[in-house]
Subunit: 190 residues, 2 copies
């Protein structure tokens, strides 16, 4: 029996995206966001929603660029910190001890220690309400050798990304392999 | 050392959203999408991107409503099937043996057997490219007693949602608890 729980922003899974930008003065900043995901295949694009009050909001409007960095479980503390502190008052890279790296293609830094980054160019801004959605065209995906498997692609078991659970505020890891997509459903209805 | 892997739609995690709608004639349909996520807190809103070629696209344009149903691992096969077959030529509910349930608030069905559903009213349509993004205001979250924990909220360990990995096309489960959000990062920089 299903219960009505009201109009909540709860769905599974939500990501832990560390969004990196430069401010006016060129100071690199990192902020964690869970409201986002891939939003288009052609052009390849990813969406992330931010409140106007965030420092990152102004940085993206000004630079038209951001990177999405995926922390492994090993960097859960740093990712959590990036979601609490503000770049307005703090140098979050300095405080975390992580290293800002220049991007090849876009005007935004990435986190050197993280193994997976999308370089994004802002192509659309969507006003929704409390959050503004930034849609970035994925210009390049860069991944560390350490997380790339035999197929030449990153492997989720090596990337070990975090899963965020809204409402209760918890981070989870990724579990085991369940099945192949576009495959395990072939027997349904047959 | 990071390698450039090109402009790919790969990020971790992406969800397995089963989007349910009615067609013109009132036939319920279910389709699986991984391009989506929460996009606003106020109003509470969720985004899902679909190609114009899908049957669900036309249904949402016509009915201005959809539901997002979260399959547990037990329904990985059905979710995969919903992502391959088209409602244009098939009655996917009949083929899967799953039961369409009338929603209380929106003009879209949900899947009775799934334990978690968001009822959504279309509030914005964003043209991006191959995919069109539908932004739905979450009107209600309904969850089965079986997945609700002591706090009165659903628990991810009980919902057992799937995680989709693009590019390689794999489903994974959720693993263990890593830490509390807005908490484990408090020691960083101190």
């Amino acid at each position: 029996m299903k219960k009505s729980l009201g109009a909540r922003t709860l769905v599974y899974p939500t990501p832990v995206f560390v969004v990196c930008t430069y401010d006016k003065a060129g100071k690199p900043n990192a902020m964690t966001a869970a409201w986002g995901g891939i939003c288009c295949s052609q052009p390849p694009a990813v969406a992330v929603s931010l409140r106007k009050a965030t420092y990152t909001y102004g940085n993206i409007v000004q630079r038209n660029a951001f990177t999405i960095n995926i922390p492994s479980e090993d960097y859960a503390k740093e990712a959590d910190y990036f979601g609490m502190a503000s770049g307005k008052t703090q140098d979050k890279f300095a405080a975390s001890g992580l290293t800002p790296a220049k991007s090849e293609i876009v005007d935004a830094p990435s986190i050197a220690e993280f193994h997976f980054v999308l370089e994004c160019k802002l192509i659309k801004t969507v006003e929704i309400g409390l959050h503004t959605q930034f849609i970035g065209q994925v210009m390049d995906l860069k991944a560390d050798d350490a997380v790339i498997g035999d197929t030449g692609l990153p492997e989720i078991e090596k990337v070990r990304p975090l899963i965020y659970v809204p409402e209760t505020g918890d981070y989870f890891s990724v579990g085991g392999h369940v099945g192949k997509a576009f495959s395990i459903g072939r027997t349904v209805g047959r």
